[in-house]
């Protein structure tokens, strides 16, 4: 990392690359220090949108996954719909959501939620089904109800899969919030990105990119830490 930054600095200085094209790392750090108050204040709405998008998108995805696992017919009917939604580029859906939901925080949350939905749905369906067949036989011998099988077996069995999905979607939801902000916002990381571009303030643009990345890394770190607390067993080990 340090060597890459050094190389970047040397290239910028050695080839006299104009700052408005690519700023040197030192200039980016400088912009970061100058604009940190602006970046922090605009991170708050982006983090809020990403957070609620993450919660809502994953909650819906897990609910649908449970519904699919217990209703094969619904899965066959609606799984293609989920795939269809996934195939539409998020930047194309975002304006539609803005028209429907207005100029507030809602369309940004909706975009973030939408981007989280699919990875969690796919992983959760797989996780709820990935149960040791012998454990299912045991639950049958114990005359466990479907709810009990879910509560004691499927739920825990799916957790490693769901956390894998969370790790993907926690970074994606930041992207979703930024895309949401691009189509109409006066605050947020997405807004600052556009403003910096229009102003040709490339050091601030890079500092904003860095901020977006730090938010995603922060989210990923939190989810990874939660995963370590929640999944205290080795999911790969068959016992």
């Amino acid at each position: 990392m340090a060597s890459l930054l050094t190389l970047w600095q040397l290239i910028c200085a050695g080839f006299a690359i104009p700052e408005y094209l690519v700023p040197s790392p030192i200039r980016v750090v400088g912009a970061f220090r100058e604009d940190w108050a602006l970046l922090i204040s605009n991170s708050v709405p982006t983090i809020t949108e990403a957070f609620f998008g993450f919660l809502i998108g994953n909650a819906i995805a897990i609910s649908v996954a449970i519904w699919f696992v217990y209703n094969k017919i619904f899965e066959e009917m609606y799984y293609p719909v989920a795939i269809l939604i996934k195939t539409i580029p998020i930047v194309a859906i975002a304006p539609v959501l803005k028209i429907i939901l207005g100029n507030g925080i809602e369309p940004k949350i909706a975009v973030a939620a939408l981007i989280c939905f699919f990875p969690t749905l796919v992983n959760a369906v797989r996780g709820f089904r990935a149960v040791n067949p012998n454990l299912m036989e045991l639950m049958h011998v114990l005359s466990a109800s479907r709810t009990e099988v879910f509560r004691f077996v499927r739920f825990y069995g799916a957790l490693p899969y769901v956390f894998s999905a969370f790790k993907i979607s926690v970074t994606m939801c930041v992207l979703g919030a930024i895309v949401g902000e691009w189509i109409g916002a006066n605050k947020g990381i997405g807004y600052i990105l556009l403003q910096s571009m229009y102003d040709f303030d490339t050091p601030r643009l890079f500092a904003t990119i860095l901020t977006a990345s730090l938010i995603a890394i922060g989210g990923f770190t939190i989810v990874s830490a939660l995963e370590k607390i929640v999944i205290s067993w080795d999911p790969g080990e068959s016992i």
């Binding site: 040791n132 012998n134 454990l135 036989e137 045991l138 639950m139 049958h140 011998v141 114990l142 005359s143 466990a144 109800s145 009990e148 099988v149 004691f152 077996v153 825990y156 957790l159 999944i231 205290s232 067993w233 080795d234 999911p235 080990e237 068959s238 016992i239």
Partner: protein, 268 residues
């Protein structure tokens, strides 16, 4: 051996399990696989009986028919005179698998208590079961109640599985190659412990294995199944004392009985 076992061995009581003309076919049409056909035998109440046969002959399938996991294509199964479905709901039997089938996310004690957490409420509260800690004591695992299964060895995990099966005080214990994945020393030790537990209870044990020595050492009778579609090739009474210790494993009588079993298996 207690009095109940002595009587059962003599065949004086009604059978614990009765299998009549059992046939199991998997799949349909041209791809149909006949796993077992025309299986007929009774298991006496309190008996230790072992099913043995070649790999893939349908031993585990037959055990699953008794456990109400697989429905026979034809024939009748009675467990204490009732259908396997009714017997299962009344917790007349417990099952132990080749893998310990423990919940890795739960502690040893939570795993043993699983039968109290699931299933019909009336049965859970029937009061006939034993304390989960007593069940752990029975398999020499007191002190490991709060451990996670992943922290235990294969043999210890299988003991937890046995404790979980015993905690409901089932009248029948169905065991599907429970020690098949363990090394010989651990298997020998668990064989002795299982016999001890069986002797102290009035349980009927139906045990599946493909080890001839294990079958001989544990059982009062061994049911030899033929190759697929399997039928009963013969039922061998094991002529060994009821009280069996580890020393008996090296006794020449085990070899003699195993040779009789092998002859029957080869014939099938």
């Amino acid at each position: 051996m207690n009095a109940t076992h002595a009587e059962a061995g003599a065949g004086n009581s009604a059978p614990a399990i009765s299998l009549r003309n059992i046939k199991v076919t998997f799949g349909g049409g041209a791809k149909a696989v006949e796993a077992i056909d025309r299986i007929d035998f009774d298991v006496a109440d309190g008996e230790f009986i072992t099913l043995i046969g070649h790999s893939g002959c349908g031993k585990s399938t037959l055990l699953r028919v008794i456990a109400d996991i697989i429905q026979p294509t034809r024939g009748s199964v009675r467990v204490f005179g009732q259908s396997p479905d009714v017997a299962r709901r009344k917790r007349a039997f417990s099952m132990v698998f080749q893998q310990s089938v423990l919940m890795p996310w739960a502690t040893v004690l939570e795993n043993v208590r699983l039968p109290f957490k699931v299933g019909p409420k009336a049965i859970r509260a029937s009061g006939t079961s034993m304390d989960a800690l007593d069940a752990l004591r029975l398999v020499d695992l007191d002190g490991f109640a709060d451990a996670k299964p992943t922290a235990l060895s294969g043999g210890m995990r299988q003991r937890v599985a046995i404790a979980r099966a015993l905690v409901t005080r089932p009248r029948i214990l169905l065991m599907d190659e429970p020690f098949g994945a363990l090394d010989e020393l651990v298997r020998d030790a668990l064989n002795v412990e299982l016999l001890k537990i069986w002797r102290q209870s009035d349980m009927t044990v139906v045990f599946v294995t493909h080890s001839l020595q294990e079958a001989v050492f544990l059982s009062q009778r061994v049911v030899v199944l033929s190759r697929r579609p399997s039928q009963v090739e013969g039922i061998l009474e094991i002529d060994l004392p009821t009280k069996r210790t580890l020393g008996l494993k090296d006794d020449s009588r085990i070899g003699t009985e195993a040779a009789r079993l092998r002859a029957l298996l080869d014939a099938g």
